[in-house]
C-alpha cells in the first residue's frame, strides 16, 4: 500500500536524500536542551552552524558533541563580507566538521545582512572548483539565482525577508518565479516568522525551508518546531496536489438542482 499521498517525497540535494524538507538553525535558544528538543520536534535532518574564533575565556560544551548523529551539519559563512573571508571560513568549516557542504553567506552590510551578489558569485565559483557543495544564501532575484546555479551551486537559497525579521515572504511572486525557473532546488532561507509562512514557501514551489529565529525565539521553541514541521509538510503536499484557480466570483460546491422549496 502506498502512503505517498500522506507523506512528503524525499528531497535530494547533491546526491544526499532528505526525508525532511526543513533545515534548522542552532542559534539563540533559551538553552541547549531546548535546542535539542526543538531539533527533535522539527524532524530536521540538517542543522546549521557558525564557524568562529575560539573564546579565550573558556569554552562551553562542543556543538559537535551535542548534536552528535542527530543531523548533518550545514556550516555557514555568516558575517563574511568578502569572497576571500568566506572561502577561508568554508575551508575551516570543512576541516572542523568534516563536510564539504557550506551555506555560503557573503553580506554587503552588517545591518541589512543583505547579500553582496558579486562577492557571492566569486566565492561560489571558487568553492565549487575546490569541490564544495555550495548552498548560497542570496537575493530573491531570479537572475542572481540563475547565475549561482550556472556557477555550480547545489541549491539556491533566496531570502523571504531580512534575516531574523520574521516578516515572512515579502515577494511571493518572485519566489514563485525563481522556483519555476530554477535548475537546482530552491531553499527559502531567512524571513520566516511562523508556520503558515513556511507552508507558503513550499506552496510557491520551494524544495525546502531553512529557518532559525522563528523557532529559537518563539515563546515555546519546541512547539514552534513541531508547527514548522507540519507547515512544511502541508505546504509540500499542497504544492504537489495543485491548488485550484482563483476566481473573482462565488461557485457553489453543493448541487444546484433539487433544492428544498423550489
Amino acid at each position: 500500500m502506498t502512503t505517498d499521498h500522506k507523506t512528503t517525497d524525499p528531497l535530494v540535494i547533491a546526491g544526499r536524500s532528505f526525508a525532511s524538507r526543513l533545515f534548522l538553525g542552532t542559534a539563540g535558544y533559551p538553552n541547549r536542551q531546548v535546542m535539542l528538543d526543538a531539533i527533535a520536534a522539527s524532524g530536521t535532518e540538517m542543522v546549521t552552524a557558525a564557524i568562529r574564533r575560539i573564546s579565550l575565556a573558556g569554552e562551553e560544551e562542543s556543538l559537535v558533541d551535542l548534536i552528535g548523529d542527530r543531523a548533518h551539519f550545514l556550516p555557514n559563512t555568516a558575517g563574511c563580507q568578502t569572497a576571500r573571508d568566506a572561502v577561508l571560513t568554508a575551508e575551516l568549516a570543512r576541516e572542523a566538521l568534516g563536510t564539504t557542504w557550506i551555506k555560503l553567506e557573503v553580506i554587503g552590510d552588517r545591518e541589512l545582512l543583505y547579500p553582496d551578489v558579486e562577492e557571492l558569485l566569486r566565492a561560489t565559483e571558487t568553492l565549487v572548483a575546490a569541490g564544495f557543495t555550495v548552498l548560497p544564501y542570496c537575493n530573491d532575484d531570479p537572475i542572481t539565482c540563475r547565475k549561482l546555479a550556472d556557477a555550480g551551486a547545489a541549491a539556491v537559497m533566496p531570502l523571504g525577508a531580512p534575516i531574523g525579521s520574521g516578516l515572512g515572504i515579502c515577494n511571493p511572486h518572485m519566489i514563485e518565479t525563481i522556483c519555476a525557473r530554477s535548475a537546482v532546488p530552491v531553499v527559502l532561507d531567512a524571513g520566516i516568522g511562523t508556520a503558515s509562512e513556511a507552508a507558503l514557501a513550499m506552496e510557491l514551489g520551494c524544495a525546502a525551508v531553512l529557518l532559525n529565529t522563528a523557532v529559537s525565539k518563539a515563546n515555546d521553541p519546541v512547539r514552534m518546531a513541531a508547527a514548522m514541521r507540519a507547515g512544511v509538510e502541508a505546504g509540500r503536499l499542497a504544492s504537489r496536489a495543485g491548488r485550484i484557480a482563483r476566481k473573482r466570483h462565488a461557485e457553489p460546491s453543493s448541487p444546484q438542482l433539487g433544492l428544498v422549496g423550489t
Partner: protein, 79 residues
C-alpha cells in the same frame, strides 16, 4: 652592532593568534593548541596558518615562526 640591530634583538618575537599579538612560545600548532587545552582529537576545531588551513593530521609537524598569524576556530551555534 648598529643601533637598529640592537633594537631588533631587544624586541621579543611575537605571533598573532585570533587577531591578538602574543609572544612566540609554542614551536608547533599542536603545542599552541595544547597550551589552550585543546587536544588533537577535539571535534569541531580547525586551524589556519597565514590564511591556509592546516589539516589536523599536520598539527604536530607544522612549525610556527615569528610574525605568523594563526586562526583557531570552532563550530558554534549559528543560523
Amino acid at each position: 652592532m648598529t643601533e637598529s640591530t640592537a633594537a631588533r634583538v631587544a624586541v621579543p618575537e611575537t605571533i598573532t593568534v585570533n587577531g591578538s599579538a602574543e609572544p612566540l612560545a609554542a614551536e608547533t600548532i599542536a603545542a599552541l593548541l595544547a597550551a589552550r587545552n585543546i587536544e588533537s582529537g577535539a571535534r569541531g576545531i580547525a586551524v589556519a596558518l597565514n590564511g591556509r588551513v592546516v589539516p589536523r593530521t599536520a598539527w604536530d609537524r607544522t612549525t610556527i615562526a615569528a610574525g605568523d598569524a594563526v586562526e583557531i576556530v570552532r563550530a558554534r551555534p549559528g543560523g
